[in-house]
Subunit: 232 residues, 2 copies
DNA sequence: AAAAAGTATCACAATAATATCACAGTACAA
DNA sequence: TTGTACTGTGATATTATTGTGATACTTTTT
């Protein structure tokens, strides 16, 4: 019997999911807010987690990341936003799939089955490396440490997160909105040019020539990306 | 053949949408005011509805809600206001996506395709080709990267969009007006020969012999097209 | 062949996007 | 409390991109 955890604050949706998932011989647990959901997810072994993006006490993005730090449980995000960008975001933060509300039950069940099928095979695969190396730069994610030519660099939290996110996927373009969503959080109400400032400060610490950055490149009219040509 | 319903009071925009949607092998119906639109939406089975927010006789929000009471037809809202509030409203009332006027046709088509893909359960596993190859040219749409004989080429936003659009349909002729509508947006007030300049700059970056272009060909008296004889 | 129409090219100004910097508010530790 | 580091934002500087005019060049038409 497969165990599914539902983290979702709308009781209507929970009810809906429970009815249809139990038809497929899955048993379900539920959590109504983020904190509770995270605890359940970490303390038990589920086969799948259905995770709402917008939740009380802790938002879905954070929960997803926190779960991924400890566990490999497959996660399907439930989100109200349907922009293409969000899809990528959801997957990059470690979710296995996403589905946008309002969704049809048929569609959801198809994805649940698909994820179950997929993870049966890949269940025992190893997690990714926790250090990134590129030219003279070394980023130790676990220890939150950055070395530039063997010299230790002190980064602020935001700077570090920016670096890790972008360096984890060299060559991928990140729009300012995307970065705000992922690092600042979904509900950040502020200007996009806040990102500029942080990129600027990050560059000041790791780049030798500010006019010609080696690591953090700007994609004009798009956003920023980590230089893919220098990763080892 | 997919059926799309357009509920929109501006005949110009309807015409524009019809032209470009028919290129994608969609057939369209149209309604010029809210009442008519609602009736059509309820009495027929459409695959998608494009719904203007501000309409005579009945506004878009009401129509959207009324449709949702009876049907699950995917809806994309067309709205002139760009405030964040309106977006959330649009989604909460049951719309699948929204797009703010003035929009570029390219953007709209992308969303239409995305919604179609999403709602079509059977096609979920299918992946879309995100790279185009032709002779020495490689266009990675997802990563916004262009390689010419394994050498990276930096393109400006407009140049990149022109290339992607035309390379996606090799051999198809694009008039200057069409390119302006699709890439610049239908509201662009400017000269057609703006396109010439951008094509010129694009060519300067990817063509080796400007006098005899290999990729971007000129259709005399018509417009431009991507050379269909070299795609792999 | 000349005129006309459409296209190519280029330089330059206007625009929009990004970079930089200073400063104030905040949080947090000593 | 004071001090310190971090962060968001305004102001301003600096760039890259873009639209346009002028002009040269082709192709088509007459």
């Amino acid at each position: 019997m497969k165990q599914i955890l539902i983290i979702e604050d709308d009781p209507e949706i929970i009810k809906l999911l429970e009815i249809h998932l139990s038809n497929l011989i899955y048993t379900t647990s539920k959590a109504l807010d983020g904190e509770e959901g995270l605890n359940l997810a970490l303390q038990n072994e589920y086969d799948l987690i259905l995770l709402d993006l917008t939740l009380p006490t802790m938002d879905g993005v954070t929960i997803c990341k926190r779960i991924r730090e400890k566990k490999n449980t497959p996660i399907i995000m439930l989100t109200a936003k349907s922009e293409e960008i969000d899809r990528v975001l959801g997957l990059e933060m470690g979710a296995d799939d996403y589905i946008t509300k309002p969704f049809s039950i048929r569609e959801l069940l198809a994805r649940v089955k698909a994820v179950m099928r997929r993870t049966d095979v890949t269940k025992f695969e190893k997690k990714e490396t926790s250090t990134i190396t590129a030219d003279g730069l070394l980023v130790d994610i676990e220890r939150r440490k950055v070395l530039l030519n063997d010299k230790k660099i002190e980064l602020s939290p935001k700077e570090f997160e920016l670096l890790v996110l972008m360096a984890s996927n060299p060559g991928r373009n990140y729009s300012r909105t995307e970065l705000l969503d992922v690092i600042w959080g979904y509900n950040f109400e502020g200007y996009e040019h806040t990102v500029n400032s942080h990129i600027n400060r990050l560059r000041a610490k790791i780049e030798t020539d500010m006019a010609h950055p080696k690591y953090i490149l700007t994609s004009w009219g798009v956003g920023y990306k980590f230089n893919e040509d220098i990763v080892t």
